[in-house]
Symmetry: C2
Subunit: 315 residues, 2 copies
């Protein structure tokens, strides 16, 4: 199929591109940034474009059958600093995308929402898709509002869609800026012999999903006829303290983290009920946490050796 | 108390101003339009300002204890024409308002949401506040997103708030542009001997609340210590066909409406469960439909006589 991946040069996007490319789909990528950790994939048509600055060029959509929309300019931790900008950069361009898709006749969308942000403080464990939506970050409110515009486009104009509420993805090609992804942040910091910080006491529980498992679910959503909202997680809760312990096993050194005060946008426990996605897409996560962290550690070490050959590393 | 009413020159706003003024509150009004159907109320400080064009001037908030936010640039029927503008004009200014209130220390907000728009197609009857939110208009998505930002401001920064999800308000000072308010639209059209149009077959059921009953609920919300979301309706379902019949009784002439195709954003039945507001604010609607329509009919006739003395009217 002809698929446009918006945000296809990002962490998740690059894996979605790999998975769709391997299945033989014809791919376009729209991103405001170039590929970061590798060269562009041969055969994929890349367009550099910033949707926060100008509308989608209509030729980018021509003959496209499915759009996979993964782009976001914010993460939960940064979005509350300027909610107005968050809305202007993420919500408004997405409603314009829906209009452009309607005008061009592109009638399927896979939208990446956030299982960690839209539910807010969980009232049940694990969290199913019917759980009330009470986000505590602008990132979560914007994701929720986009979900509702997508649902409206489905009901009023027949858009076919899958919304994936992803849990915490991790794996190779995740950055290390410290705002997203504790696993890769901790691995980068450990390698550079920098302190590993825990916000709170380490008891916060999250649902970590390897990015290739998430990309596989995206790829199945692209070709499926399903319409709806689906949690995309591992279904398993793991605490930050457990992550530290697993990383210690992987790097063969006990990690002594620095504890910092908890943050008001961190909810204590988010574990997704993923039965709906497992049934609808005959999908299951295939990469378990120890294996995934080992792989990510190997990738982080490779990156640092490539980019900073003179850096004094801990191993 | 010192109260700022944003949108205080509008249909609902003018009645909220009356009710608060009668209770002795010190009032400021911020509106982009002047009072439309009457002179400004003596003793009320009016500021003409368009929040879609510039941020709230900080002096408007100084010493204000409670903000009542009633302003909207759209209605459900128009909002889907340009959702991007709807978001830019309504959602973004409201998150900036929340930030300004936080900076100025104004810690109570009464926000007018929409019971007709946020729920979408009802899954229960009557609709309680816990019903899922699946709007089918941009107006509804924007109201819902504002509700979530207000809730977030409550949880993260201690804002005290009441969100009122109003049903269909009607009464004196409602315009007759035909985009909002079937009762006043029908009365204006009948008086001018213009055709009365029904979208659909007249079976659509709504929950009509007299604007003074709504204003009374707003005024009680201002002085209350309650936090939360409350339906604000009559709790009674009335079909458009019944409205036509009651209007016929009031104007003493049988109305023969013109039927037009139903609209995709009209849900079949919206009746609100108002038990939560009745209990929390010891409030009940006091003006029943026949009485309210009689009063509105008197007001419409007076307006037309004042503004268009030469118009040939039907009575």
């Amino acid at each position: 199929m002809d698929v446009l991946v918006i945000g296809g040069c990002g962490f998740i996007g690059s894996h979605v591109v790999d998975t769709l490319h391997a299945r033989g789909h014809s791919l376009r990528v729209l991103d405001r940034n170039p590929e970061r950790f590798r060269r562009p994939v041969p055969g994929v048509a890349y367009t550099k474009h910033d949707l926060t600055k100008a509308p989608l060029p209509s030729k980018v959509l021509s003959d496209v059958e499915v759009v996979v929309h993964l782009a976001s300019t914010t993460v939960p931790a940064t979005s509350n600093l300027d909610p107005g900008a968050d809305i202007a950069e993420n919500l408004i361009p997405t409603v314009h995308l829906l209009e452009a898709m309607r005008q061009q006749g592109t009638r399927r969308l896979v939208f990446l929402s956030s299982g960690g942000a839209v539910y807010g403080v969980p009232q049940s464990d694990p969290i199913s898709e019917d759980h009330p939506l009470n986000p505590v970050s602008s990132y979560g409110v914007v994701k929720m509002a986009i979900e509702k515009y997508v649902l409206m486009e489905h009901r009023l104009h027949g858009l076919s869609y899958v919304t994936l509420r992803a849990s915490n993805p991790y794996g190779p090609r995740q950055g290390h800026t410290g705002v997203q992804g504790v696993i890769s942040t901790y691995l980068w910091r450990h390698l550079r012999n920098e302190p590993i910080e825990i916000w709170g006491d380490g008891s916060v529980v999250r649902d970590f999903l390897h990015v290739r498992d998430l990309a596989e679910l995206c790829a199945r959503s692209v070709v499926s006829l399903e319409n709806g909202v689906f949690n995309a997680g591992s279904g398993e809760g793991v605490s930050i303290a457990q992550i530290i312990e697993i990383i210690g096993r992987v790097v063969e050194k006990k990690i002594a983290p620095t504890y910092r005060p908890g943050r008001d946008f961190d909810v204590p426990r988010v574990v997704l009920d993923v039965a709906r996605a497992e049934t609808a897409f005959r999908w299951q996560r295939s990469i378990h946490l120890l294996q995934g962290i080992e792989e990510t550690w190997g990738w982080v070490r490779q990156q640092v050796r490539l980019s900073e050959p003179d850096l004094k590393l801990i191993d």
